[in-house]
Amino acid sequence: MKIIESSKIKEKAYIEKLESGLTIIIVPKQGTKKKYIIWGTHFGSIDNKFIEPNTNEEVVVPDGVAHFLEHKMFEQKNGINSLDALMALGVDANAYTTNNHTAYLFESTDNFYEALDEFMDYVQNPYYTDENVEKEKGIIGQEIRMYDDDPAWQLYMNALDCLYKENPIKIDIAGTVESISGINKEILYKCYNTFYNPANMVLVVCGDFEPEKILKEIKSRLIPKENHAEIKRFYPPKELVINKKSKETKMEVSQPIFMIGFKDVNDIKSSEEVIKKHIAIEVLLNMLCGKSSKLYKKMYDEGVLLSQPDLDYEFTNLYAHVLISGQTNNPEKFQNELNNAINEFKQNFDESYFNRIKKKVYGDYVCEYNSVADIARMFLADFFKGLNSFDYIEQYDAVTTEYAKQVLEEIFDEKNEIISVVRPKDNN
């Protein structure tokens, strides 16, 4: 096993890549009772066009299929629902789907190995029937409805619509009631056999484990499978311009909510570079509108903002953007002031402020290592981006003032800026 280490936070990770192509990452955490395991496949809502390895044919699948498949993994041929079986062992089991991956997980304080039997069994044994696929459409239909009523989700989808013209990140993860009506068991098997190949998956465990022992336990539960190597997927080319400047909608909310986005159109660099850039963006965002920023103070004092905006940088090699969102009575005013603040920073970059915020961001990274769940999920998500999570601690020192200034110029460019707003209905 390969060992990677972070001396600053005193943590280690053990990485093994099996012949089947499966990667296993073990992060031992002594003295914790909770054990966490997560098994992910590099298959998300954006993967709707690909070459099926068995037939070499090009396949296009309905929107929402990765998420639908996730829902249908739990039912087993013997009539058992694995989610219920895991819960019955007292472990907390779940699954989720994102733009670029699907993950199955459980956390336990007891019965870990019994649960591991069930867990590894169900992820490796799909069982889809016409009846069980049909039944799920009602349930997922209600999940979609729930998001229809969620202003924050609508705000986010509209922001993506502004940022991208054709990028599949715009597709709702759950699809639509119409798109999922076209899903059947054949499509699900096709996707399963393509994307649930070990070479497309990673398994992460975190807890009080002896690395060699847990590796052996996992290996003994794996069904032999052929290594399919890389899957050919089709995505539209990377767009270098935004789709539209703004989008608005009305919903039953008490106050407008806004999301301002900056599309990052710069080229992908090495994984170290990606991490460095990510750290720099987090520092810059906190400098711009974090709790001690001039902008936040002004907006708060004028009653334009109620609390610090949420700050985020989302990226894979298909898309990358900065998002700033929150509640305000005056989205235009906030956007205007934000742009002024950006220009001011470009002209006059305060080094001591930069260093103070850098300290804060370091603390935030260290806090991530408090929980086995956070650690395992972080390693999984970073793995699918080709990153090593410890590098966020290790690259920290490499983020200099000069570098941050360069990122500021690159990313915070008004021509790549968009705004999505959800306003209250007039009759409110």
């Binding site: 007292g90 336990s108 009523d149 300290k359 408090n370």
Partner: protein
């Protein structure tokens, strides 16, 4: 881990939780008073005003700068109702000295800052700074009004409000818009001074290397300035009356999905009803094995979310489901059938075992998160039950089918709330 308590003055308790599982130390101060209509809004407002500035750090910006220098120590505050008590909560989380790039002593500094925010507010002309109060009044109004934004949380809040009309537990924890305007900076400051001299104060410290922390706290000048006190009784009222018919409440909003909230009363007064209620609730709606999840979602395909939660301190169970509006009758019928099945003993030892395992696993996880552990001990403190985690576990394990059945028979539907288009 355990909660080592030191009453440093009558009514002021330091709780020390030694643990070396974390990279952080967590400090929390809770000010608790009985939940009342005439103080609920003031409590929410005071909490917000306090974080605006102190005599030493006169603005939010200065507080933030200080925290950022401490490797991003996090300060947070809020307001919570736990049973019939209303608690003003203040937290500070700081990296444990061991994981800092350079040696520093953040422990004392953290406590000093936290106490400064709570007990040493910025005062101008014998009252809170006018500008801060004005700003926070406006913000609080918006927080209260934004109750409608999250439809699921709104429906839950509304159901509880209907169940506890004109009773403390029916109050909204952030208070009421109509009260805000008449609160002046002077009123609020007067209220605050009497609050901190009379309320129950619990100070929690969770982390590693906490030797002498109680002493350290005791020697803080601001803590020295606090008087001994006899906090008002904040025991929760759990008396229930039998009713003939549930109350039906229906409300319209522009929603795509309808939200059902069913509020249940537990009339049983058996010993250990708190623990038995937990097991009952888990079988009814606690997870994917529960009757509600299995029948409303898996069998009838009516919902994505359906389950129940247990309000231990008030002896209530709340069922929630998000459904297609036209399926209301069908969903209610299935929900009622589950209650009926529980009452008729249609659950077996296996169901009980599964429920217990799930509960025990979550009890075992309490000390795996610092804030969860603190919240647990605060709950024990407020209810004056002081049950250690091990005993809590034992009580769950000892629950029998007879006890659950007795409780199931005592369940009555208090209110059925429906949010629809």
């Amino acid at each position: 881990m355990s909660d080592i308590k030191t009453e440093i003055k009558t009514g002021i308790i330091v709780h020390q939780i030694d643990t070396n599982k974390f990279k952080t130390n967590l400090f929390a101060v809770f000010l608790s008073v009985p939940l009342k209509r005439d103080t609920v809004t003031k409590n929410a407002l005071v909490t917000a005003v306090l974080r605006r500035g102190t005599k030493n750090m006169v603005s939010q910006q200065q507080i933030s700068e200080k925290l950022e220098e401490m490797y991003g120590a996090n300060f947070d505050c809020g307001i919570e109702k736990t049973g019939d008590s209303h608690t003003l909560k203040f937290y500070l989380e700081a990296i444990n000295d061991e994981f800092l790039p350079e040696k520093e002593n953040l422990l004392k500094e953290s406590l000093d800052i936290l106490f400064d925010i709570i007990f040493n507010p910025l005062i101008e002309n014998g009252k809170f700074k006018e500008e801060y109060v004005k700003g926070e009044k406006q913000n609080l109004k918006q927080i209260i009004e934004s109750k409608i934004d999250n439809k699921s949380a709104y429906s839950l809040e509304r159901c509880i409000e209907e169940m506890y009309k004109d009773k403390p537990y029916g109050l909204y924890k952030y208070g009421y818009v109509e009260d805000i305007d008449k609160i002046t900076s002077e009123d609020l400051y007067n209220y605050y001074t009497s609050l901190i001299q009379n309320c129950k104060i619990d100070i929690f410290v969770s982390g590693a290397e906490l030797q002498n922390v109680a002493e350290l706290i005791q020697n803080n000048e601001l803590i020295k300035g606090l008087k001994e006190r006899q906090p008002a009784n904040i025991e929760s009222d759990t008396k229930k009356e039998r009713i003939d018919e549930p109350k039906y409440v229906e409300e319209s909003m522009q929603v795509a999905q309808g939200k059902i909230v069913v509020g249940l009363d537990i009339l049983s007064e058996q010993d250990d009803v708190y623990y038995v209620g937990s097991v009952y609730n888990t079988i009814l709606g606690g997870g994917s094995n529960s009757k509600l999840f299995q029948n409303v979602r898996e069998k009838a395909s009516l919902a994505y979310t359906c389950g129940s939660s247990y309000i231990k301190r008030k002896k209530n169970i709340i069922i929630r489901a998000g459904i297609e509006i036209e399926n209301y009758d069908k969903a209610i019928e299935i929900i009622k059938q589950q209650l009926e099945d529980m009452r008729n003993g249609k659950f077996d030892e296996d169901d009980i075992e599964k429920a217990k395992k799930l509960l025990i696993s979550s009890i075992d996880s309490i000390d795996e998160e610092q804030d969860t552990e603190i919240t647990y001990y605060l709950g024990q403190e407020l209810a004056q039950t002081n049950v250690p985690i091990d005993e809590y576990k034992k009580k769950i394990q000892e629950t029998t089918k007879e006890q659950i059945l007795e409780l199931a028979k005592s369940i009555q539907i208090n209110t059925i709330y429906f949010l629809r288009a």
